[in-house]
Symmetry: C2
Subunit: 122 residues, 2 copies
């Protein structure tokens, strides 16, 4: 059987942790969602560029990133569905920018860039 309840397990510690996780379940899912979206090099670059340049259209992004417009558009859709970016129409061009309410978290994520090289295996 797979009863891996360790002989020397600290059952108080385990229930405390379990309780703690239960209270924060929602937050974990939300944060993981954002990190997962940012955890793709293309999308991370898009977020960086949108923050840096204030706004950009799919066409320019595709040019900058060196990838097809549909590929970029699909990444933008994910970011928009998550409420991380927003759009502004100007003629037939659609400008994407970081949604105001998401600017703090996105800035914080991008600030991780500035940590001294902290990942040994990379």
């Amino acid at each position: 059987m797979n009863t891996c309840i360790r002989v020397f397990a600290d059952s108080i510690q385990i229930s405390r942790c379990r309780e703690d996780l239960k209270n924060k379940e929602e937050s974990f899912l939300e944060l993981a969602d954002v990190l997962n979206l940012a955890g793709n090099a293309v999308r991370l670059k898009i977020l960086y560029l949108l923050k840096q340049e204030n706004e950009l259209c799919p066409c320019d992004l595709s040019d900058i990133l060196g990838m097809t417009v549909p590929a970029v558009s699909q990444h933008l859709k994910k970011l928009k569905d998550a409420g991380i970016v927003t759009t502004k129409k100007s003629g037939q061009t659609i400008f994407y920018s970081v949604e105001e309410q998401s600017q703090r978290i996105i800035s914080s994520v991008l600030d991780l860039f500035n940590l001294p090289n902290t990942i040994p295996a990379l």
Copy 2:
């Protein structure tokens, strides 16, 4: 043809962005890797727990997280391969903890928790 070079595109802006990205390519890949690993609710919880409790074994984690030991073990392997966590053997028990050199970035990632609810769509 798919020549989506916009009529009103700012070609100076585009080359500047392209140049900028080129210089930071490596950093984008590294950061995206870390974010991608943290961008899974189970792994995010594991990192949170390891930081909080200092060290935990796969068995306890499986108990706390309510999932099978192999499932946990496979997540731990990914984190270890990336150099984010490290192990210490004690008898037949293996204790996992956050690798010292990764503690700053992991703490920063977990600090995103404490931002006021910034994700509109979630």
